[in-house]
């Protein structure tokens, strides 16, 4: 699970977190997290984002509030989380037990030329989440810590927030479907059944 840098490999981490995921719903932030969940296995319970930077965690909140009995995971990058950092306050106040947010932190904007993000310069997202009011958090850097991270995501004692420091290298592009209406409709059908398309 380690890259040659000694840091976690993002795709192996994603694979481990999504193993035996049950009916968990996954929102992936635009860019590499969206490619990662698709590489692990594209399916109706995935919503890989193509845009809306800064919105992934809040999409997770709306979904978690609408479906309180289902686990919801937001898997996103450090740049995307920083852009929507205020949403940590919004989510902490709502306290959805079924929502987890995991930031795959490579300390760079990976899609735009690997410019450094604020986390490269000491900004600590876990501390920010704690300050917002998240009671359950984890900071993960080693493979032996990943099982506890997976366990926390599946435990339903949220809201849960974690940062996993990962190797910065980009992986092979595995693109999800680009048709947003399809991505939305298939997740709604996975959640609501065929009647999703007949809602009045």
């Amino acid at each position: 699970m380690l890259a040659s840098s000694g840091k976690l490999d993002r795709r192996e981490l994603t694979r481990a977190l999504l193993a035996d995921r049950g009916d968990m719903l996954v929102i992936a932030g635009l860019g590499a997290p969206a490619w990662d969940i698709t590489a692990v296995g594209d399916r109706a319970e995935n919503l890989p984002l193509w845009g809306g930077m800064g919105g992934a965690a809040m999409i997770g909140l709306g979904l978690a509030l609408a479906q309180p009995r289902r686990k919801v995971l937001v898997l996103t990058g450090d740049g995307e989380m920083l852009m929507g950092i205020g949403s940590l306050a919004t989510i902490a106040v709502q306290r959805p037990a079924n929502l987890s947010i995991v930031v795959q932190d490579n300390e760079h904007y990976g899609e735009t030329g690997m410019q450094e993000t604020a986390t490269k310069h000491g900004v600590d997202l876990v501390t920010m989440a704690k300050g917002a009011g998240f009671k359950h958090t984890l900071f993960v850097t080693k493979p032996e810590e990943v099982p506890a991270l997976r366990e926390a995501i599946h435990a339903g004692r949220g809201p849960f927030f974690a940062v996993a420091k990962i190797d910065e290298a980009s992986k092979k592009l595995v693109l999800p479907p680009r048709e947003g209406a399809f991505l939305q409709a298939r997740m709604r059908e996975a959640v609501l059944g065929p009647e999703a398309h007949h809602q009045l």
């Binding site: 809306g52 999409i59 979904l63 609408a66 106040v93």
Partner: protein, 183 residues
Amino acid sequence: MDQNAIDKAPDAAAAWPDQIYGLLKKHDIRQVALVPDAGHSRLIKRCLADNGMKVVTLTTEEEGVAMLLGTWLGGEKGILLMQSSGVGNVINMLSLSILHRTPMPMLVTMRGDFGEFNPAQVPMGEATQAVLEAMGTLVKRADTPADIEPTVDATIRLAFNTYRPTATLIGQRIIGAKTFGKD
């Protein structure tokens, strides 16, 4: 309402805030995302008192647009309440509604619109309708109290029946402009 507050709330006798609340119930709106505005203050109180509604106070309006996508993914209906200045904060996030064809009704109380006192409100107030429409939002204005109920009803219906962002702009003429005694 605090008499020293910079924004103006609807007159206590005005029926329209309660009419909007009634429409939210009629359309089974379960999630209400908002950045507070004095113009929406009574409506917000009604929503907070309703156990069937989840009221989410946002740090910035764009959070609400993202949230409405999640709301719809999970099979509920939501709405975003904000002031015209907040419309400037949601522009890029509205891409989600167009891309995914997500119903996103918005109720916007206008500032910088009719007899405004605060010069800072005017630039965004002037731009509100234009930027919403530039992002594909179907916008209708309500400039008299009697306009509000049918216009908000149409805005909610249009969002959920045709899968897109829609907005009612509630004119400042209805709410009035605060003047700090400088009439």
